[in-house]
Assembly symmetry: C2
Homo-oligomer: 471 residues x 2
C-alpha cells in the first residue's frame, strides 16, 4: 500500500478526531481556560496512545510557586536502538478568539467548507500537529513494521500562544528524555499552496537599553542652551550612527561572524514569487522598502542582522512646550541576529560603540544581560534539511523552495538546549488567518503534511550516518 | 546737595519702607495669597504717591472670565512735554518660600545682617523696584526742581513669578498710556559686586513639535525589522542632523539674519571674570562645555542662536523589551533666537529641513504657530544704553561692562509691544539666592542702584534728541 492511499482511506477518521480536539477551547492566555488546556493535553495523549505510541504522558510545567500549563510527551522507539532520534515539536494551545462577532461559524465548532477546515487551532497548531499521527500510521502501513524507522519523540506544549513561559525550563529539566538527533518543528507554513517550501532558519535577538546622562537636573535652555551638551542630542547622534549610509549596522565587529547568504539559498529565495507591494501593505502600509544595500526585502528580513530602535524617550513629553535641556535620555534597542552571531558579542560591540559615540560631558551606560536568543539556521545542504525537503517533494510532487523566519519562538530554545538541528515541516499558509477570526486550514494541505510526515521518517533513517555522526 | 549724600541721609527711611513692603507675602503662584498681592500693590501705589508721583494707580489685569493679579502704574510728567518718556518696569510679586525650614529667619520678617537685607523679594524684585523711589527723590534734591527731567512712568506687575500670564494683554490694552521712548528694566543683576555691568540683550525663542510617522501600527521587528523604515531611526537622524560638526544649526537660512557679535561687545564680554568650572557646576554639574565652534561659553549662551531638543519619545518606553518597529516618533524642539532672527522664518527653515531630512516611506509634520518671542537687543553704542551705562558708572565710580541674558521674560513683550529700547538697570547678584531660601540683597548695592537711578534721568534727558528721534 502506498502512503497516499492509506491517508486517503483514513482521512475521514482523521478529520473527525481533529474536529473533536478543535472543539476544546484550549486558550492558554485565558486563566479561566486552564481546565480546557488540560483536557486538550489529555485528549492528545490518548490519541497518541491510540496511534500506537507506547508512551504518551501529560507533563506538568512550571513550579509549585509558578504553575504552568501542561505539555504532552510521547515516545515510540525504533526497532534499532542506533536509529536516529527525531523529536516533533508543536503546541496544543490556541489564541483567544476576539472579536467573536467576526467569526462566520463559532470558533470551537469546527466545520469543513470548500476544502477548508474552519476553527480556532485548525492551522495553528492542532491541525498540523495531528497530521503526524496519521503520518506515522501511513509510514507503518507502507513498511508493514511495528515501529517507525527512527525513534520518534513528540513534545507538544500548552503555552506557545502565551509566550512559552515555562518551556525552556521544561527542556532543561527533561533534557535527557528529550535527547534527539533532529528536531522536526511543525508550527510554520509554506510560501503558498502551489509553492511548497520549508523554513531553514530563524533570526535570533538580543536587546539592550542605553541610558544617557548629562546635567544632574533639567536645565533652563535660556540660561544654558547652546553652552552645554544636551543628552537628547547625544542620544540622537548615537542612534543615527547605528547605521551607515548603506544601511549596515555600524557596531564594531557586528558582521565578523555573520555567515554569508549562500548563492544556492539566495537563488532559491529569488525564485519565490514575492509581491513587494502586498508585503508593504501587510507592513502597516509602510511607504517604502528600506534596509541594507545589496539585499532584497526577503533577504533583509530573513538572512541579515539588524539594529532596531524599539523605543526612546527623554525630556518633556507632555502637552505644550518646556524649554529645558533634559538631564537624561533613554533608548531601547534590539538586534536581530543571524548565524553565527553571538548575542553577548553583539552587546559588547554596542558597549564599545556607545563608549566612542558619546561626546565629552555625557555619560552613557548600556544595560543588557547579553543573553537573548541565538539565531538558528540549517544550511540548505544540511542532511536533515535535505531529508525533510525530499519528504515534502515526494508529497507535493514538485520542487520545494526555502524560506526563513525573521524572528524566533521557542524553536531557538529547542535547538540550543537540545543541541540538534531544526527541520521545519509545516503546511500552514499566510491565508490561514491564524490569530484572527475565521482561522482555517486547507484539508488538502493537512493531508499533504501527513504524507510528507510519512516519508520523513524513512528519509531521515536513510541519512542515519550523517544525523548521528555528532552523538 | 549731591545724590549720594541725599541717599545716605534717607537710607534709614528707605529700608524701613522696604521692610514694610517685604513683610507682605505677595506670592503670586499661591491662590490663597491673592489678597496679599493686592495689599502689596496698594502699598506700592501709596509709596509712589508719597514719593511725589502725581498719578499712582492699581491696575486690574485679565478679564472677568480670567482674573489676573493687580499691577501698579504711576506717572510723573516732566516739566517739558517734549522731554523723553522713560518707563520703569519691575514686579511686586514674589516666589513661594518652600522649603521653609531652610530659612535662617522667616521669609516675611525682613532683617538686616552683615550688610545684607534678608527676606523674600529683597532682591527679586521689591528691593530693586523700591530704589527708584529713593532715586527720583535724590534727583530732585540735586536739581532742586519739582519734576524729573524726563517723564517717568512706572509699571510694576504682580504676576511675573507665575508666568506674566496677563501682562502682554495689559500692555496691548494700555499701549497709549504706556507710550515711552525707553524702557528701564529693573529686575536683573550685575556680574559681581565689584564688576558692575548691564544687560544689553535677551535671546528670543520659538518652539515646534516634529511628528514622524511610518507604518500604520507597530510592526513585529522579527517579521519586518531591517526591511522597512523605522520612524525612530528617521527621527534620530533628523535630530542628529540639526547641528553640523561645528555645532552650528543646520537649518536653511538659520544664520541669514543673525547680527554678528560686535568686536566691541565681544571684547567687553571677554573682560568679565568668568569661572568656567563654577559655571559648569551651576549647570547641573555638566561634564563639559559644548556648543558652536569659535565662541566662548558666555558668547554661546548670550549672543548665539540655538536648536535644542527639549523632549523626544516614541515606541516602547515601559519596563522590559518589546521588539517593535514603532508607528510614530515625536520630538519637541525650541530655538533660542538672537537679533535679528524672526521666529516665523526659523520655523519655515525647520519645515524645509524636515522635508529634506525624512527618508522615503516616512512622513513628518512640523507643528508650530511660528510666533514665539522675538529676541531683544540694544547695541552697546545705543544712546539709551550709553546713558544707562554712564549713570551706573557715576554711581559705582568704575567702568561698567556688558552682559546679556540667554532667555526672555516679559521684557521681550515690553520691547515689542511698546516698541522702545530696553535699558537694564539692576543691582542683583547671583549670590542673592533669588527663588531660594534666605533670599538677600546687598544694602550697599541697593543704595548704589538708587544713586544710578538718580543719575539716569539726567543722562537720558541729555540724550533727548537721539531718544525721541524715532517718535
Amino acid at each position: 500500500m502506498e502512503a497516499r492511499e492509506y491517508i486517503d482511506q483514513n482521512a475521514p477518521g482523521f478529520f473527525t478526531a481533529v474536529a473533536e480536539w478543535l472543539a476544546i477551547p484550549s486558550i492558554s492566555a485565558d486563566p479561566d481556560r486552564g481546565g480546557d488546556v488540560r483536557r486538550s493535553a489529555e485528549f492528545l495523549a490518548g490519541q497518541l496512545r491510540a496511534a500506537g505510541f507506547p508512551v504518551a504522558e501529560v507533563w506538568e510545567t512550571g513550579t509549585d510557586a509558578d504553575r504552568g500549563l501542561p505539555a504532552v510527551y510521547a515516545e515510540w522507539p525504533a526497532a534499532d536502538p542506533a536509529a536516529p532520534v527525531a523529536l516533533v515539536y508543536g503546541h496544543h494551545d490556541v489564541q483567544p478568539v476576539d472579536p467573536l462577532e467576526e467569526w462566520d461559524s463559532p470558533p470551537f465548532e469546527p466545520v469543513q467548507r470548500d476544502g477548508l477546515l474552519f476553527g480556532r487551532g485548525a492551522s495553528d497548531d492542532k491541525g498540523q500537529v495531528f497530521f503526524h499521527l496519521l503520518g506515522v500510521r501511513a509510514n507503518l502501513a507502507v513498511s508493514g513494521k511495528q515501529a517507525p524507522p527512527v525513534t520518534l519523540k513528540v513534545l507538544v506544549e500548552g503555552e506557545e500562544e502565551s509566550g512559552s513561559l515555562h518551556f525552556a525550563d521544561l527542556l532543561r529539566a527533561q533534557r535527557e528524555r528529550l535527547r534527539c538527533d533532529v528536531i522536526v518543528v511543525t508550527d510554520t507554513g509554506m510560501w503558498a499552496a502551489d509553492v511548497p517550501s520549508m523554513c531553514v532558519g530563524m533570526r535570533g535577538v538580543v536587546d539592550a537599553q542605553v541610558d544617557v546622562r548629562g546635567p544632574d537636573f533639567d536645565l533652563h535652555s535660556g540660561s544654558f542652551g547652546g553652552g552645554v551638551p544636551n543628552p537628547l542630542h547625544a542620544m540622537a547622534a548615537l542612534l543615527a550612527g547605528l547605521h551607515d549610509a548603506d544601511g549596515r549596522v555600524a557596531l564594531p565587529g557586528f558582521y565578523d561572524k555573520v555567515r554569508p547568504l549562500s548563492d544556492a539559498e539566495r537563488q532559491l529565495i529569488g525564485r519565490l514569487p514575492f509581491d513587494q507591494k502586498a508585503w508593504l501593505a501587510e507592513a502597516g502600509n509602510s511607504g517604502a522598502a528600506a534596509g541594507e544595500a545589496g539585499y532584497s526585502s526577503l533577504e533583509r528580513v530573513w538572512t541579515r542582522p539588524t539594529a532596531e530602535v524599539n523605543g526612546m524617550w527623554g525630556g518633556h513629553t507632555g502637552p505644550g512646550g518646556k524649554t529645558i535641556i533634559p538631564a537624561q535620555a533613554h533608548a531601547k534597542l534590539s538586534f536581530r541576529l543571524v548565524a553565527d552571531q553571538e548575542p553577548a558579542e553583539v552587546i559588547e560591540g554596542l558597549r564599545q560603540y556607545v563608549r566612542r559615540a558619546v561626546p565629552p560631558g555625557i555619560e552613557a551606560t548600556v544595560v543588557s544581560d547579553g543573553q537573548g536568543v541565538r539565531p538558528s539556521f540549517s544550511p540548505v545542504d544540511n542532511p536533515a534539511v535535505a531529508a525533510g525537503r525530499r519528504a515534502l517533494q515526494r508529497a507535493f510532487g514538485q520542487e520545494v523552495l526555502f524560506t526563513r523566519e525573521g524572528g524566533s519562538g521557542p524553536e531557538a530554545d529547542l535547538a540550543e538546549i537540545l543541541a540538534a538541528p531544526l527541520v521545519f515541516i509545516g503546511v500552514g499558509l499566510d491565508a490561514d488567518r491564524v490569530h484572527a477570526p475565521n482561522e482555517r486550514v486547507s484539508t488538502t494541505l493537512l493531508l499533504k503534511g501527513a504524507e510528507a510526515a510519512a516519508y520523513l521518517w524513512d528519509e531521515l533513517a536513510a541519512t542515519a550516518a550523517e544525523l548521528t555522526a555528532g552523538r
